[in-house]
């Protein structure tokens, strides 16, 4: 039984189609991520769910209720903006209490205090937004949305303005809170790593369409098309014609081949290629080595094509720039697109 349903939603801004026939469903309590490049329509989709933008075609349902034509205040969704959008003239307590005051509910004080505890801001009740760090401001924004007990929580790149370390810790915390409250969440990001670590399900978007959806591991290991392969996993992608030449075999059939950089291995050209039944060997030259933290990435040129090969850093540098190598390509890791 789906809790959130987006049914064939289309939206355009003066002749430019921004969302094209988008359909997706979420289960209750699911943490879903909209992942895609800048300008692909993630924010527009989120704002359409919130009611801040109207849609041209299609419908949006939450908990079985059609909310397509309701105003934002009637939708029972909470939203956290990238820029936090805290009210500058109110302190932390009043920011969080705002929605409850609008609803004229009772025991505002205890509900707000519970939220302040949940987002770990005890002692900051009287502070004003300009006296808080970016991470603290984001927690206030989160608490302000959560205190309303919304049916769906929408997060538009809530962590992208923060530095890497705080970002990592807030990712964890966000996930903890989401699990604790079991709240259905739609999270927007253009960072694939962030999407992988946080989500139950990822919807990859490109040019206003959802091009693939699934669990993070599913999307990572079996990309549905070239766009996803390149965007999610930094896959090496080759046209079939080129690939046939490289491996001197036309065993694979299809348009393109995608290979993850971490399944490739490098050996010295003198060494024999292990098990020719299961691998291909390609001769090449190391063009460049880069180190991104714990990963060593070799860029290998072979017949005018380039291969990225990733190794964990603990082995140290095995090949210098300019050395000749053999790339071992496991056949079963080649994904035909």
């Amino acid at each position: 039984m789906s809790y959130v349903t987006i049914d064939q939603v289309t939206k355009s801004y003066d002749n430019q189609v921004v969302l094209e026939n988008i359909s997706l469903t979420l289960k209750k309590g699911e943490f879903a991520t909209l992942l895609g490049q800048s300008g692909c329509g993630k924010s527009t989709l989120l704002r359409s769910i919130a009611g801040l933008e109207g849609v041209n075609v299609g419908s949006i349902l939450i908990d079985g209720k059609d909310i397509t034509n309701l105003s934002p205040r009637q939708r029972e969704v909470g939203m956290v903006f990238q820029s936090y959008a805290l009210f500058p003239n109110m302190n932390v307590f009043d920011n969080i209490a705002y929605g409850l005051k609008m609803k004229k509910v009772k025991n505002i004080k205890s509900r707000v205090n519970k939220m302040i505890e949940l987002v770990d801001l005890i002692g900051k009740e009287e502070s004003y937004p300009h006296q808080l760090s970016g991470g603290q401001q984001q927690r206030v924004a989160l608490a302000r949305a959560l205190v309303m007990e919304p049916k769906v929580l929408l997060l538009d790149e809530p962590l992208s303005a923060l530095d890497a370390k705080i970002r990592k810790s807030l990712q964890k915390e966000l996930k903890r809170i989401q699990k604790e409250l079991d709240i259905t969440t739609i999270f927007v990001t253009h960072d694939q790593e962030e999407a992988m670590t946080m989500s139950d399900r990822i919807f990859v978007m490109n040019k206003g369409k959802v091009v693939q959806s699934g669990a993070p591991s599913e999307i990572y290991t079996t990309p549905a098309n070239t766009f996803v392969a390149k965007f999610i996993g930094n896959y090496n992608v080759y046209s079939m014609e080129v690939f046939h030449k490289l491996v001197r075999s036309s065993e694979l059939k299809g348009d393109e081949v995608a290979i993850r950089p971490e399944v490739l291995q490098l050996v010295s050209p003198g060494e024999d290629c292990p098990d020719l039944q299961e691998n291909w060997g390609i001769k090449g030259v190391i063009k460049d080595v880069t180190m991104t933290g714990n990963v060593l990435r070799y860029e290998v040129e072979a017949d005018d094509s380039y291969f990225h090969v990733d190794y964990l850093h603990h082995r140290g540098l095995m090949f210098e720039q300019g050395s000749r190598v053999q790339i071992i390509v496991p056949k079963k890791e080649c994904i035909v697109l």
């Binding site: 919130a50 009611g51 801040l52 105003s71 934002p72 205040r73 939708r75 969704v77 909470g78 939203m79 903006f81 820029s83 959008a85 009210f87 500058p88 003239n89 109110m90 302190n91 705002y98 929605g99 609008m102 609803k103 004003y128 937004p129 300009h130 302000r144 949305a145 309303m148």
Partner: protein, 284 residues
């Protein structure tokens, strides 16, 4: 180290014309005025009698009262109108916004004698509209007298509104669209947004503008003089007649009045600032 010092000297040298200007045209006259106000009419004896004269005289006290009333009323009306007008400006395209600002800019400079004469020509006893309306038999304006309090306030408001619009308009740019969106998602209506967030955020600018308008009206002289001559009892007209009339020159008394005028402005500024801090507690 030495280099920095040298640079500082250059910068100070550049500031010199400004410093000379401030001392020569602002601080100098102010000090002279305060000093003058503590002398008797002979200009030799030091005394506080000038102030006592003012506070004992019905004539001067009513002048102060009149000036305060007209300044407060015209400032309140102008600020209220300007807050709404500036908001509606923001709803136009940026091209039209620029045009509107240009008009506001021009009209805010239209004050003093030319403005008064324009009003006299249009709405005076033999003014264009007055006669036209009489001909048409509309008695809508039959009771209207330009040379009265209402007339004076009308003229003041006329030159205050454009100034207020120009001063308040920029602060609307500081109101973020996402505050409105967040408010509406949290169940707030448009009214509650403006009441709880919009107006409080604009408040420093509204208060600042109010203070400027108040001071502007307190000090306005030429407009009032051209319209009502010395028939009306306003502080600025009283000071003018004490320091520049051909009958009774009493510059010391004029100075004392001047000091009181300046004091009301400072008092207004202080009061406004305090009221604002009570509402905007986030501002230190």
């Amino acid at each position: 180290m030495r280099k920095i010092k040298k640079q500082k000297i250059y910068l100070l040298a550049l500031l010199l014309p400004f410093i000379i200007f401030v001392i020569g045209f602002e601080i100098g006259p102010l000090v002279a005025m305060i000093k003058n106000s503590f002398y008797a009419d002979d200009g030799i004896t030091v005394t506080i009698n000038q102030y006592i004269t003012i506070f004992k005289s019905k004539f001067y006290l009513s002048g102060i009262k009149n000036s305060l009333i007209i300044s407060l009323v015209s400032a309140v009306i102008s600020v209220t109108v300007a807050v709404i007008a500036a908001y509606s400006f923001t709803k136009f395209s940026s091209k039209i916004q620029n045009r509107l600002l240009m008009i506001a800019n021009m009209t805010s400079n239209f004050e003093g004698i030319p403005l008064s004469f324009s009003y006299i020509i249009l709405l005076g006893n033999n003014g264009l509209f007055t006669l036209l309306f009489a001909q048409l038999g509309w008695d809508l304006f039959a009771d209207f007298n330009l040379y009265s309090w209402t007339g004076l306030i009308l003229v003041y408001v006329y030159f205050q509104i454009p100034l207020a619009v120009m001063l308040i308009y920029p602060s609307y740019q500081g109101i973020k669209k996402q505050w409105k969106e967040a408010s509406s998602l949290l169940g707030g209506s448009k009214a509650s947004f403006w009441f709880r967030i919009g107006i409080p955020v604009l408040l420093p600018s509204i208060v600042g503008t109010f203070t400027i308008l108040f001071a502007n009206a307190m000090g306005a002289y030429a407009t009032a003089y051209a319209l009502v001559g010395s028939n009306y009892n306003l502080m600025s007209l009283q000071i003018a007649s004490l320091v520049a009339s051909d009958v009774t020159l009493k510059p010391q008394l004029g100075s004392a009045l001047g000091v009181l005028l300046a004091s009301t402005m400072i008092l207004a500024m202080w009061f406004n600032e305090r009221m604002m801090r009570r509402i905007r507690r986030d501002l230190r």
